[in-house]
């Protein structure tokens, strides 16, 4: 029997469609009867979309402009 805890743990795989059919159906029926889990799943979906829009970046430790110039000079030498 699927419980809220299972949904919490499998939320990503459920959204990505990466679960065996049996599990997927079990979660689907749990979602039909559980408002909390529907809200939770919706929040995870919103999180994914928001991160995709925001595109947070790695901390930069080097000057990318200088790197581009260095690579550019490399092709000039190469020629």
């Amino acid at each position: 029997m699927i419980q809220c805890k299972d949904l919490t743990e499998e939320a990503s795989d459920y959204l990505d469609g990466d679960l065996p059919l049996r599990k997927r159906i079990g979660l689907f029926f749990h979602l039909l009867i559980c408002r909390c889990c529907r809200n939770y799943l919706q929040q995870i979906r919103s999180t994914i979309k928001t991160v995709k829009v925001l595109q947070p970046k790695e901390k930069q430790t080097i000057d990318t402009h200088a790197l581009a110039q260095k690579l550019h000079s490399l092709t000039c030498k190469h020629d």
Binding site: Q3, C4, K5, D6, T8, E9, A11, S12, D13, D16, D18, C34, R35, C36, C37, N39, Y40, Q42, Q43, I44, S46, T47, I48, K49, T50, V51, K52, V53, L54, Q55, P56, K57, E58, K59, Q60, T61, I62, T64, H65, L67, A68, Q69, L71, H72, L74, T75, C76, H78, D79
Partner: protein, 201 residues
Amino acid sequence: MKINSNNIDEKALIANLINGDEKAFELVVSNYHNLMISVARAIVGEAFADEVVQDAWISAIKALSNFEGRSSLKTWLLHIVSNGAKSRVRRENRMISLDDGWQSISSDHFDNTGHRLDDVVAWEEATPEALLANEQLQAAIEETFQKLPPLQRAALTMYDMEGLKMEEVCNILDISASNARVLLHRARTGLHQCIDKFQDN
């Protein structure tokens, strides 16, 4: 400016790189350097990542004329950085550890049958646009992202932000699909908790 992944644009871009067009270099570095750093940090760690990525860039630029376009420029670059990073870490020293201090949602939230005890209410503002209108939340998401373990960041960046296939993410990071799934779920959960805290305020 974001590169369109379609082949015609990439062909033109690669031709410009080979011809030594300075702007083309600025463009590829600004589009892909962050992603390459993410992969290198995930495999080789913070200390050597910059060096590994710079070496990867140099090899890539030298090999540009051999690029056949069978994959996108992005995945080609990621494979170069991934191979460089993997050869940098001695294989026997690389253990993928999922023991990264991650904490699942506390079991206090569930009763002993696994049923939720607390009420999960829908977020009042759930669209990315509405959420990101809050600058403090934006900064908090960025900070939370940067504090995630590097493997989680790399899995999230490639899968959720760059739209790479799971199989590709696994190949690049040299991890199993089940580990990649765990990393992705942890990263998403961490960011979800960050956004959720703002809903309480």
